[in-house]
């Protein structure tokens, strides 16, 4: 006797279809750029969410998870936009196997593998202690702040809208994390030392932020992506200003790691995805 396992709700794109769909767009620099922006926000959101229930004090536990939620919302906006573009392209494609399911924000977050994620290495670094989490947030919020500011000049209307919305949130993240860098750096001998340790660990991942991937270069040329060189100086000015108050100095002669933007990640990435994607991998298509 045959069991009928099919059901009536719309079939989500399977993992295989998702890979096929994405591999079908290798030259799509706009899609890569959107996924890069989305992945940055999603992975840092996931990292910050690990603090939920473990923050040093209740108020800061709430603060870091609020930031996580904002980032998750930003990631959703970018993924939804990317999914829209993919679906538009697939409908007009002649390949029938690309029309077997609808791509959603969830397909992009839950069914891509490590090599397809384009987030900066900084966002996937472990939480470490509170100092390391704070420093990672400051370095990245500072980056997002100027990036989203620049994106308001993008020729892509939806990117402008997402960036404008996100910028208001990031303004709060940047102020909060700047204050914490100062509080810890210029705090006790212990907190100062911990900030130095965090800086030694994380500084090597800051070079990649301003090293454009091929899709960023291409999208900047068409006026869609932000010009990373122009935000680098503003980012550095802010770092210097906050570090000076925090009595911290920028490490010298650090070898800068890179690769995340093109899918070459640190070993931490696989573990993050294992946890993040567990439910969809184990129960494909499961819903709340």
């Amino acid at each position: 006797m045959q069991q009928n396992l099919s059901h009536n709700i719309e079939e989500p794109a399977s993992s295989k279809t998702a890979q096929k769909i994405l591999e079908n767009h290798p030259g799509d620099n706009k899609l890569s750029y959107l996924l890069h922006l989305a992945d940055n926000a999603l992975i840092l959101a996931q990292r910050n969410a690990e603090w939920c229930g473990h923050g040093p004090i209740l108020e800061q536990d709430i603060a870091i998870t609020n930031i996580s939620l904002d980032l998750l919302g930003q990631a959703r906006n970018f993924y939804q936009y990317a999914a829209l573009l993919i679906n538009q392209q697939n409908t007009s494609s002649n390949d029938p196997s690309l029309n077997t399911g609808t791509v959603t924000e969830d397909t992009l977050a839950y069914l891509r593998t490590e090599r397809h994620f384009k987030n900066c290495l900084l966002t996937e670094q472990p939480n470490g202690d509170w100092a390391q989490t704070i420093l990672r947030q400051f370095l990245f919020s500072n980056y997002q702040y100027f990036l989203y500011q620049q994106l308001q000049q993008s020729k892509d209307e939806q990117l402008v809208a997402i960036a404008a919305k996100s910028l208001m949130e990031v303004t709060y993240h940047l102020r909060w994390s700047s204050e914490w860098v100062i509080r810890l750096g210029d705090g006790t001998a212990e907190s100062h030392q911990r900030m130095i340790n965090a800086l030694e660990e994380l500084w090597q991942y800051t070079g990649e932020l301003f090293q454009p991937a091929f899709y960023e270069t291409s999208m900047a040329e068409t006026g869609i992506a932000a010009d990373l060189l122009s935000i680098k100086n503003k980012w550095m000015e802010k770092v210097v200003a906050v570090f000076t108050e925090a009595t911290l100095t920028i490490p010298e002669k650090t070898f800068m790691q890179q690769g995340g933007k093109e899918g070459r990640h640190t070993e931490h990435m696989g573990y993050i995805l294992t946890e993040l994607q567990y439910m969809q991998r184990t129960y494909p298509g499961c819903n709340w």
Partner: protein, 177 residues
């Protein structure tokens, strides 16, 4: 922040007003004293001239990650279905970005009565110096302005946590955005 599109007194505007009336019963699940109109998140009401039971409601999120948005969309749909509307589309737009400046005066009063200090000043105030606090936030319980910031992030993304130095009560402040 919503302006009706059709000419005053026209049949279509009457339809829009009917919908507005229904929308005024839909509340924010996280701050149940506020309706979605008080919050200023309803952007547009589009009635189909040839079929008034087909409507589009355009809303905008308060924060990118606000988990209430999906629930709000569903509640709008349910409220309209109950009144006989058949084809309902809920569209989310991001631009222009929502700001607390769009909250109505009556919305702010309701917030205060509920125990949450309403946003003070304009949204342009989100750019501040480091360690600078929003000063003189009025305690919603004893009306004292002798209050202090506990944390910039409160029980939801839109609120900060304050404490009153006079009556000692901690309270939520709906921060400028």
């Amino acid at each position: 922040m919503i302006t009706l599109k059709n000419i005053s007194g026209s049949a279509l505007q009457q339809e829009e007003e009917k919908i507005l009336e229904i929308l005024s019963t839909v509340t924010d699940p996280e701050v149940p004293v506020l309706t979605i109109l008080d919050l200023g998140i309803v952007r547009q009401i589009n009635v189909t001239p040839t079929d008034v039971s087909t409507v589009e409601i355009v809303i905008t999120p308060t924060y990118s990650g606000c988990p209430a948005m999906d629930v709000i969309g569903m509640n709008i749909r349910l409220a309209l279905l109950e009144k006989g509307y058949k084809n309902i589309t809920i569209t989310q737009v991001l631009s222009p970005a929502w700001t607390t400046d769009w909250m109505t005066t009556s919305g702010k009063e309701k917030l205060k009565a509920y125990g949450i200090a309403p946003p003070q000043g304009q949204s342009s105030r989100i750019e501040k110096l480091l360690f600078e606090e929003d000063k003189n936030i009025e305690c919603p319980l004893c009306n004292s302005i002798n209050t202090r910031l506990i944390s910039q992030f409160g029980s939801t993304a839109c609120k900060a946590l304050y404490q009153c130095n006079d009556c000692k009560e901690p309270f939520d402040y709906f921060k400028c955005h």
